[in-house]
C-alpha cells in the first residue's frame, strides 16, 4: 500500500557542535519519503528549483520513490540554514529562503488521487487543504504542523484538523496549539479539534500517543552519538506511517508498534548529517534495532 507525502524538498545548511554541512538534501518530504521507503512505496508531492541536482532525484528513485508529483519551477530551491547549540535539543534558524516554495500550489498527478495513506508535512495549511481536496479516496491522513502556522494560520489549520485522522506534533507546538502547559491536557484539547489520534514528539524523550480510548508512552532509543537532529520528526512520521501501510494494522497494537518503528528510524537519522544515515541503513538493521527497542523497554513479559 503506497504512502503519499506532501512537504518540502529543500537544501539545508547545518551547524552542530560536531561539524557543519552546506546545502545538503533536506526538507520534510525528503526525510519522510526516505524513512517510509524502507517499508512501502512512496510518492512525493513537492516543488524544487532549477538548482536542485539530479543526484538527489536519483537517490529518491533508487529507493523506489515516485517523483511524478515533484514539480521543478524557475528559481531556487527552498533553503534553510540552522545552528544547533551545545545542548543539541536547541536550535536557531539563521536563514530561511522560501524561493520556489512561495506561491506553490500542489497539483497531484491523477494516479496519486487514490491515495490510501497520506502525510501532510509541515507546510501552509492552505496547501495541506488543497491536497486533501484533490484526493478521491483516503484511508488515513496524518498531518504535521509548526508554531508559525499555529500562530499565523489558525483558521485554515483548524479546518485541516477537522479532516485528518492523526496529528503529529512536538510538545511545545502542542502547548501552543492547545493553550495548555500540561501535555496530557494539551493532547486532550487537541483531540477535540478533530484528530482521532494525537502523537506528541518529545525529541530524545520519546513519544506520547493519545486517543479517546488509549494512551501510549514510549521513550526514545538512547544513543551515544546524536550528530544532527535535523529531520528526526519527519523520519519518525515516515517510519510510523510506512510501517502502518506495510502492516495494514490500525488497531491500537498496530499503531503502537508503528510508533516504535518511527522512533527506530528517527534514531538512525540523527546518527549522521542530513539524510546520510537513512541512505546507508537497511531494513534488517531497522528490524534488529526494533528488537533491541523491545528489550530496552520490556518489563511486561
Amino acid at each position: 500500500m503506497s504512502v503519499l507525502v506532501v512537504g518540502t524538498v529543500a537544501f539545508d545548511s547545518i551547524e552542530t557542535p560536531f561539524g557543519s554541512a552546506e546545502r545538503i538534501l533536506g526538507g520534510s518530504a525528503s526525510y519522510f519519503a526516505l524513512a517510509a521507503s524502507f517499508f512501502t512505496p512512496v510518492r512525493i508531492v513537492g516543488v524544487i528549483g532549477q538548482d536542485f541536482p539530479e543526484e538527489h532525484l536519483d537517490l529518491f528513485s533508487q529507493r523506489g520513490i515516485d517523483l511524478e508529483g515533484i514539480k521543478r519551477e524557475r528559481g531556487d530551491t527552498f533553503h534553510w540554514r540552522g545552528r544547533y547549540h551545545e545542548d543539541i535539543n536547541v536550535r536557531d534558524t539563521l536563514e530561511l529562503h522560501l524561493n520556489v516554495l512561495s506561491g506553490f500550489v500542489p497539483q497531484l498527478p491523477d494516479r496519486y488521487r487514490d491515495a490510501e495513506y497520506v502525510f501532510l508535512g509541515n507546510i501552509d495549511p492552505v496547501m495541506q487543504m488543497e491536497v486533501l481536496n484533490q484526493i478521491r479516496r483516503m484511508r488515513l491522513v496524518v498531518c504535521d504542523t509548526m508554531d508559525h502556522w499555529i500562530r499565523e494560520s489558525s483558521t485554515e489549520l483548524s479546518k485541516v484538523l477537522q479532516r485528518i485522522e492523526m496529528l503529529v506534533i512536538n510538545d511545545s507546538e502542542a502547548r501552543l496549539l492547545s493553550g495548555y502547559n500540561n501535555i496530557v491536557r494539551a493532547a486532550r484539547a487537541i483531540l477535540k479539534m478533530g484528530p482521532k489520534v494525537v502523537l506528541i514528539k518529545r525529541g530524545e524523550y520519546g513519544v506520547l500517543q493519545f486517543s479517546d480510548s488509549s494512551v501510549f508512552a514510549t521513550p526514545a532509543y538512547p544513543l551515544e552519538e546524536v550528530f544532527d537532529p535535523t529531520g528526526a520528526g519527519d523520519s519518525f512520521a515516515g517510519g510510523f506511517l510506512g510501517q502502518l501501510a506495510r502492516s495494514g494494522d490500525q488497531s491500537q497494537r498496530g499503531i503502537r508498534r508503528a510508533i516504535v518503528y518511527g522512533c527506530v528510524v528517527a534514531s538512525f537519522t540523527v546518527e549522521d548529517f542530513g539524510v546520510k544515515r537513512l541512505t546507508t541503513a537497511s531494513l534488517p538493521e531497522i528490524e534488529e534495532r526494533y528488537q533491541r527497542f523491545v528489550q530496552l523497554t520490556d518489563f511486561h513479559t
Copy 2:
C-alpha cells in the same frame, strides 16, 4: 526485609503556580520513607530540631516507620523554601537554612547495623560514608546526590561511589558528574566510577537505567495535574527500593519492575502538595496504577 534511609527530615515552604504551602513536612528521608513504607518496613536516620511537631512523627509511626534513628537536637529543623515556575520543571531555591543539619553526624542504633537495603539520601558524602562505615552487613546500597556535592565534595563523593551498588541521579547531575552532555555517555562514565547500576531520573520524561549488561528506558506516568513536584525523586527511590526489598528480586526483570513501581509512587506524590498524597494513597491504588502503567507502555504482548 527492612530498608534503612539516611537523609533530611525538614520543613519545606513551597510556591507553585497552583498555590503555596508554609513549613510543611519535607526532606529526602521523609519522602523516601513514606514511599517505601507501602512495600516494606522502613527505618529512618536523620536529625530534627526542637520545633519539629509530634504530629509528623506520629504520621511516620502510623506507617510503621521506625524512628529510633531520628535524633532531636537543640535548635531549629532544616528548612527549605522554593518556588516553581509556570513551567513546573523549573524551580528556584529562595531560602535554605541548614539549622540542626549542620554538624550532624549520623549515629545508627545498634539494631540498624544489620541493614540489608540502604538508601543514602542526598546529604553530605561525608555523612553518607559515616553511615556505610557503621553498617555491618548490607545487601544493596542505593545512593543519591546533587550538584552541590558533585562540585564541592568530589573526592568524598567518589569514595562513596566506590562502595555503593546503585546511584540514583537526575539528568543534569549526571552530566555534571561525568562531564558528558550525552546522557548515555554520562551513564557509561558513571558506571566506571563504582556503581553497578545507574538510574537517571528525567522528571516527567521518565527514567533510564544503565548497567554493564543492560539498558532500560521507561517514560513517566502521564498526569493531567502536576501540583507540586517536590519529593518526586525521593519518592521514586522509595518506591523503587521498597519494591526491591519486598520482592527480593534483583534480577534485571526485578529491577525493571521496581523502577516502574518507583515511577508509580512518584506520580502520586506530585498530585498534591508535599507528602499529602503519599499519606492518602493506598497499596491497592498503587497496584492499580502499576497495571495501568503496564497498559500504557505495552507494545510487547
